[in-house]
Symmetry: C2
Subunit: 540 residues, 2 copies
């Protein structure tokens, strides 16, 4: 394996130095200097030590690099590791000739892009990159002789990324299209959508909107998701997605707060905290940043943290249904959480981006818990309901009852952040959001969600039938499977190399995810079924 890796390394090096030469800096040097902790078996790849170092030759400004940015761990988000794993896999599945041919075809662009971005990537870069690599692998697989694979004609299937796959429902896309159309009559078969206006006409054109979002959309969100919970239109801030508002909330809180986060959790909470300067350095031995309270969520505590062991914290990020574990907090648990926040004077940032996946009586909003308006912000999104991951639309609830220690309303400062650092979600996306909340739109979203929930059941049943401990899935599009005593990365490699299926190693979501894998239910049905079949063959 190591000699194979070396061979790839040589290919990469020679190509990348060609492409990097004119730019006079070597990304991989920086990678190395930042002590990225790739899994050991994948280290030593992608070095380009012979290229001249930027530090020696190029003009440098006198502006000091933001120390908080330097704290970020490239390896923590595992794109490099995944990349190397994929490369290794590609090589194991093909001849050097084919690999070289592929690199030739790519004209080095992929490598250049990777070298440029590889210590500054996120899950979503990874998504595109992975798909890119998968296509390569599939191309190679088609060329391979049959005996090299159990699935000579099958593609590698990715259940690794939490990106939706099903089309956006008609009622919603047509509302968005109508925003532009000067040919609204052609589209008036969608008579349900009356409000859409035409940006291409004098009558319909509108420029800057309110940064907080369209008034009618805000009112509809309040009515649809917070009816009888005391949340009003003015408490709703429409965003271009939950991830973006997580960072805006960090700006709001500033650098002097201490955060707590579920472990494992969606990495944007921790990373944005690091960027804001709320944390200390990354401690490699425990795989945690200093000055963040990691609230361990494991089967032993029903994925709900032992609150009595949590120190005084300012902001508690809590996601339910959870990404990645798929677990959903019960009413009792959330009542404990709200009480804990009240007792300690903390602010909860409750991420409900998967709430519509809940099919039992678990709370869909933190505001179902009495008193939550005084301690909690809620962030949510249309991404996983309507397939809006690329359209970009979400919202954040900041109740006017939520006050800082000096009595100043949090919402007023958040409003200022939104007004200064944001200019509102795209008016087209907002037209789509309004259509999502129409009766037809709500029904269409629920149909899409039900489809993914059927996928989830297939995945849960597959792993359960094989005797694994399977968590999540019931109220979430994620299935969390335990491989006791094994490394998440080893399991990842095993499933990729032997089953041609990509899942996400649990340790990428924090140290509490070690020995788990996350299997995403976002996929076309035939892919889910095929992946289930291969996993059964692999583990039965």
């Amino acid at each position: 394996m190591s000699s194979s890796a070396l061979q790839i390394s040589m290919v990469v090096s020679s190509r990348s130095s060609d492409f990097l030469g004119s730019h006079s800096f070597c990304a991989t040097n920086s990678l190395r200097s930042r002590n990225v902790s790739l899994p050991g078996r994948m280290a030593g790849v992608c070095r380009c030590g012979s290229a001249p170092s930027a530090e020696e030759t190029a003009f440098k400004t006198k502006v000091a690099r933001n120390a908080n940015m330097a704290k970020l761990q490239a390896g923590y988000l595992f794109p490099e590791a995944l990349f190397v794993a994929m490369l290794t896999f590609m090589q194991s599945q093909s001849s050097m000739y084919h690999l070289a041919a592929v690199f030739e075809i790519l004209s080095g662009q992929m490598m250049l892009r990777f070298c440029w971005e590889h210590n500054a990537v996120s899950f979503l870069i990874l998504n595109n990159f992975l798909i890119y690599l998968l296509n390569l692998v599939n191309m190679l697989a088609r060329r391979r002789s049959a005996h090299m694979s159990k699935y000579p004609d099958a593609k590698v299937i990715s259940l690794g990324i939490g990106d939706t796959t099903e089309p956006i429902p008609d009622d919603i896309t047509s509302a968005m299209a109508m925003v532009f159309s000067q040919h609204a009559l052609l589209l008036n078969l969608y008579s349900a959508i009356q409000r859409a206006h035409s940006l291409g006409t004098f009558e319909g054109y509108s420029g800057y909107g309110a940064e907080q979002g369209d008034k009618k959309l805000r009112a509809n969100i309040a009515l649809t998701y917070y009816k009888d919970l005391g949340i009003e239109e003015t408490d709703i801030f429409v965003s271009d997605g939950a991830k973006c508002d997580i960072s805006r909330l960090q700006l709001l809180f500033g650098s002097q707060v201490k955060m707590a986060v579920q472990d494992p959790s969606y990495p944007a909470y921790v990373d944005s905290s690091v960027i804001m300067g709320q944390t200390g350095l990354f401690q490699k031995d425990i795989e945690k940043y200093a000055n963040i309270e990691y609230m361990r969520c494991v089967p032993e505590n029903d994925f709900f943290p032992d609150l009595s062991s949590i120190s005084q914290v300012d902001v508690i990020y809590f996601c339910s249904p959870n990404n990645p574990t798929g677990s959903t907090a019960t009413r009792d648990q959330l009542t404990q959480l709200v009480q804990f926040a009240k007792d300690n004077g903390s602010i909860i940032v409750f991420d409900s981006a998967y709430a519509m996946y809940i099919s039992d009586d678990s709370p869909r909003s933190i505001y179902e818990i009495p008193g939550a308006k005084e301690v909690a912000i809620e962030i949510s999104s249309f991404s996983k309901y309507a397939g809006f991951t690329g359209v970009r639309l979400g919202w954040t609830v900041v109740p006017k009852e939520l006050l800082f220690a000096d009595g100043f309303p949090v919402a007023k400062d958040f409003n200022r952040i939104v007004s200064t650092c944001f200019n509102g979600a795209s008016n087209i996306a907002q037209a789509g959001g309004l259509a999502c909340l129409s009766p037809a739109g709500l029904k269409a979203m629920q149909n899409t969600i039900n489809f993914y929930k059927e996928n989830t059941k297939i995945i849960v049943d597959t792993f359960t039938s094989l005797g694994f401990n399977v968590y999540g899935g019931k109220n979430a599009p994620y299935v969390w499977v335990q491989f006791p005593g094994r490394s998440s990365w080893d399991v990842f490699t095993e499933i990729l190399e032997k089953g041609y299926v990509v899942i996400t190693p649990g340790s990428g979501f924090g140290p509490g995810g070690e020995s788990f894998i996350r299997v995403s239910a976002f996929g076309h049905r035939e892919n889910i079924l095929e992946a289930a079949k291969r996993i059964k063959q692999l583990y039965q």
Copy 2:
């Protein structure tokens, strides 16, 4: 005047306390406590001192308010002052009966919204609010007897806000509409747009995109605006608008840098710096924040700062063509600026959002200056080219040659910011951006720009013919008119009350804007002509 203001105050107070009662906090208390510096003649309005204070009764978290947020000056951005001015104007133009009736009609919602948001508003809130108020004023004007006004049948015209008014060109809207349409055949009269795909079909659906933006769009931006300047696709980061990227750049730089800014300038530079904690407190006597270098730009220095007087700074925000002055830096001046940055090791953030308005040989990009890639970031936007203010699309160029003091590439950290704190611009908006850069789209954008430039000429000619010192306008959609020895606010009030035209007081852009007004050329032609007529009547 003061007794009139008092009467309004009473109306406002009694209504707002009604609406605020159930929310148990009084925004105007907070406003007062934050020492907002409204122009003296408008002070004393909107008090609701009798409402119970939140500080006394409500639950408060123990989370300390971010001290940087508390530094922000509500009055600096003048929405309150404008609001009060408009209210005063409304009252001066109508009977108390009508005013009360209007408030009744509004059911207090406007006041509630204002009281809630009025110390956390920006120009864009102001925009909506102003339009709202203008509609009210116009309604009142229609009811008024003719002798109360010089223009009994005319509407108040706003040339105060830099928001575009002309429709988005067909080629561009259709490209965006096609992203959704399952009925692409109906739209295939727009045969030029081949790339649009359908989010409503399995084939066309796409989820998360790259946070940096669509590869083809990045390549097209590089080709269209930076051809032969050495800027490549990978240097381009597509954004949801320049304003949003200004804040992301602040996140990138962190709290330890010192910034310089043109005075006057677009307020987002300063405000985002304050939020990041780069500044000290606002110094009321000089109307400046501590630890910001204000680079005075006035007619005496051809609106280009005396660089020899600038202290050591890390980041220099420079907008050309400038908002608000409309001035455009020459090649010589920008060469000086780049040299200054090189000598001092500073980073320039060059805002070129109005570059397509340049009709002489002034540089359209900072990268036209040799060596700029080593010291400059450039932010830009489709907003003022294609009317995308509401669609939300822009870009930022971070050349890979730009390095921090330790040699680390700035672009790599910015890439990490974009990946962690952003999820890419809406795929629909990006489809529109691609259409903007097609031959037809470029032509359509230029037509729109030419239309606004004709507006600009009308405004420039109007003020010039009246003997004013008129600046800007040639390469920008803004005209900057000097009223020597007078307060911007007094001029604002005069033009509003006597001419029924809304402009923007120059002092809202910084102390260097005092005694100037900004007149925006974004407006329908008939409004521009009517406003010109009224201003001529007023000042001839």
